[in-house]
Assembly symmetry: none
Homo-oligomer: 204 residues x 4
Amino acid sequence: MSSKKFSRNKQEKIDMIYKTFFNLILKQGYHKTSTNHVAKSAKISIGTIYKYFPKGKEDIIRKYFEESMETMLDRDDLINLNNDNIRDFLNHFILELFKNHEENKGYNLAFRSAIQSDNTLHNGHKEKIFNFFKDRAQKLRKTNKNFKEIPEERLIEVFIFIYNLINAILYHHLSIMELFDTDDKLIEYLSDLVVFSLKYLIKS
Amino acid sequence: MSSKKFSRNKQEKIDMIYKTFFNLILKQGYHKTSTNHVAKSAKISIGTIYKYFPKGKEDIIRKYFEESMETMLDRDDLINLNNDNIRDFLNHFILELFKNHEENKGYNLAFRSAIQSDNTLHNGHKEKIFNFFKDRAQKLRKTNKNFKEIPEERLIEVFIFIYNLINAILYHHLSIMELFDTDDKLIEYLSDLVVFSLKYLIKS
Amino acid sequence: MSSKKFSRNKQEKIDMIYKTFFNLILKQGYHKTSTNHVAKSAKISIGTIYKYFPKGKEDIIRKYFEESMETMLDRDDLINLNNDNIRDFLNHFILELFKNHEENKGYNLAFRSAIQSDNTLHNGHKEKIFNFFKDRAQKLRKTNKNFKEIPEERLIEVFIFIYNLINAILYHHLSIMELFDTDDKLIEYLSDLVVFSLKYLIKS
Amino acid sequence: MSSKKFSRNKQEKIDMIYKTFFNLILKQGYHKTSTNHVAKSAKISIGTIYKYFPKGKEDIIRKYFEESMETMLDRDDLINLNNDNIRDFLNHFILELFKNHEENKGYNLAFRSAIQSDNTLHNGHKEKIFNFFKDRAQKLRKTNKNFKEIPEERLIEVFIFIYNLINAILYHHLSIMELFDTDDKLIEYLSDLVVFSLKYLIKS
DNA sequence: AATGAATGAGAATTCATTCAT
DNA sequence: TATGAATGAATTCTCATTCAT
């Protein structure tokens, strides 16, 4: 019971650190946000931050990313993909990315901001994405005739491109949200865009 | 001749600073690249860097950006736009962005990397883009019937979106270049993509 | 006890910084005394100096000055001033200045040295002196007939002049101390000097 | 003829350097005034400044001081001093100091400002003053009965004190000028003050 | 476990001084 | 002689990280 309480406090603190850190990055940019500043803003001692995140800033981002990737991407939707529901899958995938964007706008922007100034982080991220889609591509080529014809490497590249394209549109300079009346129209546009793009990418 | 040599040295030094700075950013990320490090790598004294760029890193990026924006965007292509050559204009515009990307891949990536960690710079950049397209939108609405019907603000937003979309694809996580056999195919894809997108954006 | 030790260490460090800084200024002059040099001499890390004095040298002097002004001037001697004890008051005031000079010779000289090379500091100092004597002048004019006749502004100016005169003699080029056999004779001289001067200043 | 013109240009430049340097010190304080800044303000190249003043700032002040000391103090007034005209001599001496102050207010303040932050300069100054009054004291003790009784060292000290007292009043925090209606009254006050002070100093 | 004072390497920036032209 | 570009040591200041309490 007491350990439960403790662990809730611990998680609360960790969440507080995430929240404060990413808020500060949004306000000031990554390299102007210091761990000491985070500690002061979050009213948590700098010692505690280093207890939970021994490597400091890098650790905060890496751990947040690991948690959020698990939440966002670690599902088995792709496995059941077949000829008939490619469009459904895409809609579903894009919707997930979009929902994640809406819910974690600040966090994700901060993450991207951080990744840009830290090559280690950037490469870790790329590797993670690559492995994720490599796994999915392999499964797809085993279970789906259409995909068997596409070389594995190409399939991975295409998936990554789609993933990046959607993210780029959602995050890049932030101007897109205001261009569509409703979220549904945006989702529709993005799905159509991906289908449109796939034709070029798969065949070329 | 002696004065010529002087001025050549000056520009050579400035170019050397740009080159070294952006190379280092590409290698190490923005916030790990210090002015002193640039000086040492470029074999130029730190004093010289601060002579030409009194505010340090920020100035290097800002000045490079100003120069490259002028080179890249400051032309009058849009003025001659009429009903018949929208597609030509788009092709031309995308080609320019693409050529700029090819020639200045390192510089531009570094610039984007830097912009992500510096909000002042980021806002300056956004403002510059906005003003550029505001000017173009106003000219277009005066000379072209089709555009007159679109509100100025919307037109600016759409242009910015297109600009960002292309840049996002060209720069975002770097995976696109390997997906197309030839540059022409990439350009074709991008043009088609923009035309495809415009339908959604203008009407919505 | 542990908290006591903490706070004692803190004040000890601050005092050590003051002591070292002013000693170095006395030896080398203000602008040749760097914060790093102070840190090294005081065997305190440069970070600690900036923790307690975030604006560096300027802060050290300003804070010391604020503390010493409070110690030296922030008393209510002037309030009880009446017709009969002007001479006593003067003796007392001069004695205070003199004691302060004796005890803090190094600090005060350093402060004056610093003030000469820093206009911001100088103006802050002048303002502080002015406000101090403005307050005293206002109180005096309310409670003392003789002073009521002297315009407030004039009274402030005269007080400041007296204050500066004494300080100038005590600090300016350091030659006075050796001219008098005993401190009492010096104090007597200074008091007589002020009384002598007041005749000129009040009437003119 | 051409050499004459040159030498006038040279002196003009030197005067321009003095003027600019001391004006900048008055505005910004000594240690914030850089030689490069002087060069830019005076529209004289930094190379030229170092031609005339090879040791930089220190040299500018030292040379100006040497010139101004010669102008101000290098006269034989004291030699003819006798019993009857001590008061006249004092008036004359004070008037000289006062005139110098009026004419070179900026220069002198700057000089004092500079001296405070540079111990070499300060010591040089003290030595110069000491030697000047040593010379005068020796002459006086040879020619004047009254002074013979005062030990040479003491006489020098008293002279220096008087000199410093007047200067302190004239320069110290600048508040005196506004306290007297006319210059004559100020001079009178200063003379009386010195006579008043001498009684204490000579006898003690 | 939690705290936050303390550390010091390293980044940004200045400025006296030199030297090629 | 005059110039001012170039230099780099020295300075100010920041911030990730440690460790005694």
